[in-house]
């Protein structure tokens, strides 16, 4: 387990990481999800000991490693760019940390071959990195991380520079690769889809701090603030100002629905309502659905899904539905949302119901 206790990072007067406490456990992926510049890489560098902390402590498996050099922390790091030794073969690349650790020849042979088998690199063991494709180069870097006995493995957007399809395949294999290896796995990404596919636990990052941390699907369903909802949505979540009065909520354009349960118990006033695009559909699903009617601005048809951007008062909304739906751009269409999927946020952006 990696435990961060009030860790901060500053460069001069600029705060890169605000006080952060986090417990990252073994046995599943720990995803750091946030936009570029939100502090994912900074946090990883602190945990890896590559950058000095301004304050706080880091424990690795209970041991205080705050003052320990990177070399002594027994960790692996896989970078966004394919970092391999260009003058060494794939075999030597994977073997290099094992040689440093002083393993015997036969032990190295065994481990490299195991790692190469898992990542399907067997036929390439005698080639040099520049003779490989991007995917194979990154698999080499991953194999190096797997072959080594690490207490922690840091993967910093390792798939960002790979082809979409390759990314999809590796994303699926990664959790299996690291399962049962006894290392804490930390995975930084800017793609919500990736966090969902990898499962485990997710820490949402924004502006140098962790805004929410917990089981991935739970965070996806219950973002505790508006920023978390925005960070963790692909396509972007729909948000609009809403007025609550009595048992009713009303949008600016006049669409209204009755509230039940927790939202009904809120005090009257102004809130922000958020609903994911795949909950706003072009056909009515039930009698409870609220009709939203507005001109369609842009449509996208991907074969499996149809999406429509439409305008409702001052706000642009997005509907995403399975299958093929014909829309006429510029014309009014009706969309339907089930209010039970609505989330409400207060004026300070905090989740209220």
């Amino acid at each position: 387990m990696i435990e961060l206790q009030d860790v901060t990072k500053r460069v001069g007067n600029v705060v890169h990481i605000k006080p952060t406490s986090l417990k990252l456990a073994k046995g599943h992926f720990n995803v750091l999800l946030g936009a570029t510049g939100s502090g994912k890489t900074s946090l990883i560098k602190l945990m890896a000991g590559l950058d000095p902390m301004a304050s706080g402590r880091i424990l690795l498996n209970g041991e205080d490693v705050t003052r320990l050099n990177t070399q002594k922390r027994q960790i692996s790091l896989v970078h966004q760019f394919f970092v391999n030794y260009p003058h060494m073969t794939v075999f030597d690349n994977i073997a290099s940390p094992l040689r440093v650790a002083g393993m015997t020849r036969s032990e190295i042979q065994g481990r490299v071959e195991d790692a190469a088998d898992i990542l399907q690199l067997r036929p390439m063991l005698n080639r040099r990195p520049q003779e490989l494709s991007g995917g194979q180069q990154q698999r080499t870097a991953l194999a190096r991380a797997i072959a080594k006995d690490s207490k922690a493995v840091f993967l910093d957007e390792p798939l960002a520079n790979l082809d979409y399809k390759l990314r999809e395949e590796l994303r699926e294999q990664l959790p299996e690769l690291f399962a049962g290896r006894g290392a804490v796995v930390v995975y930084a990404t800017s793609e919500p889809e990736e966090a969902l596919m990898l499962g485990g636990e997710t820490a949402l990052m924004h502006d140098g701090s962790v805004t929410q941390f917990g089981p991935t699907s739970e965070i996806y369903r219950r973002p505790n603030n508006l920023m978390a909802a925005h960070v963790f949505s692909d396509p972007p979540i729909n948000t609009a100002p809403v007025t609550k009065q009595g048992n009713e909520a009303q949008l600016e354009n006049g669409a209204r629905w009755s509230l039940e349960g927790a939202p009904a118990a809120l005090s009257d006033g102004h809130y922000t309502v958020a609903i994911r695009p795949h909950r706003v559909l072009p056909v009515r699903q039930s009698d409870n659905d609220v009709e939203l009617k507005g001109p369609v601005l842009v449509t996208e048809l991907s074969g499996s899904d149809s999406s429509a951007h439409f305008r409702l008062g001052e706000v642009d909304w997005v509907s995403l539905s399975l299958g093929v739906h014909p829309y006429n751009v510029g014309q009014e269409h009706s969309f339907f949302m089930d209010p039970s999927h609505c989330r409400y946020f207060g004026e300070d952006g905090k989740w209220v119901a």
Binding site: P52, M53, A54, S55, T66, R67
Partner: protein, 286 residues
């Protein structure tokens, strides 16, 4: 700041030590000399700023300073554009790249006094190839030992030959770092070769060019060995640049006080010009 590692200072120590003996201690000695008069026997008399005033007012210093600025101005005006032009015309990929780079680096590898000696022999009338060619083949009267203009031209050509490569190599490094997409976009945007230079190559070369100009300014402003070996400051005083004059005062006449004051003024001018240039060039980046 408990977590910071104080051991780093330990590694910096040797450098501090070196710098102290290399620069700080001699510098302090110079400062010491510049405000005193000595007649030997380790006897010193306080002079205050008299030496500084005397140097700044002397015609001899002003003339040498003028020649120094003229020299630096001319070689910068030649080497920078020439360096850029050569860098632009060098191949960016293929077999000829290493060949060009080695050829470019060659003049810079030759020791400075050898450069001076080479050009001396090369340019002497009757003996040198250049001197012979100019006088006896072309029939142009060319003698750098007699004619100040010929001496100046020889020094400048020598410096251009010796140091343009530095500008070329730095600019070339800047140029090859420009992604192909920029050139392709410019082609598609219908940009002329001049526009490509003005809006893509020059801005991307700016950082390295600043460094190149700064280095060339400092080196040429402090130049000593090559012109000394080539012309010894003559004919007359026509090529006596600041550093040559300084050495004449310090070692020739053994006027340590004025020489020390002059070195400090010299140093201050170099520093000031470099600083102003650097500030102006990097102003936009903020």
């Amino acid at each position: 700041m408990k977590t910071e590692n104080q051991r780093a200072w330990f590694f910096v120590l040797p450098v501090l030590f070196l710098v102290a003996f290399n620069a700080l201690v001699p510098m302090m000695t110079v400062v010491n000399y510049s405000v005193q008069e000595t007649f030997g026997n380790n006897q010193f008399f306080w002079q205050g700023l008299d030496w500084f005033e005397q140097i700044l007012r002397s015609d001899r210093f002003q003339a040498a300073l003028g020649r120094q600025f003229l020299f630096t101005g001319i070689i910068l005006a030649i080497e920078v554009p020439l360096g850029i032009i050569i860098a632009l015309s060098m191949p960016r990929k293929g077999f000829w790249v290493p060949v060009c780079l080695v050829l470019m680096a060659l003049p810079m590898l030759i020791p400075w006094n050898v450069v001076g000696a080479m050009w001396n022999i090369f340019a002497l009338p009757k003996i040198g190839m250049l001197g012979y060619f100019m006088n006896d083949v072309l029939g142009v009267n060319y003698d750098m030992t007699q004619d100040p203009l010929a001496a100046w031209i020889t020094i400048i050509v020598m410096d251009v030959w010796h140091w343009t490569s530095l500008v070329v190599l730095l600019c070339y490094a800047g140029l090859v770092s420009i992604p192909d997409a920029y050139y392709q976009a410019a082609k598609i945007d219908g940009a002329s070769a001049w526009s490509v230079f003005r809006y893509i190559q020059l801005p991307k070369m700016k950082t390295v060019l600043t460094i190149a100009i700064l280095l060339r300014f400092m080196d040429s402003f402090n130049i000593y060995t090559e012109p000394f070996v080539l012309t010894g400051g003559g004919p007359g005083n026509s090529t006596t640049l600041l550093s040559i004059d300084l050495v004449k005062i310090a070692l020739g006449q053994f006027d340590l006080g004025p020489a020390a004051a002059m070195s400090l003024i010299y140093f201050a001018i170099t520093l000031l010009v470099s600083w102003v240039f650097y500030v102006v060039m990097t102003k936009d980046d903020q």
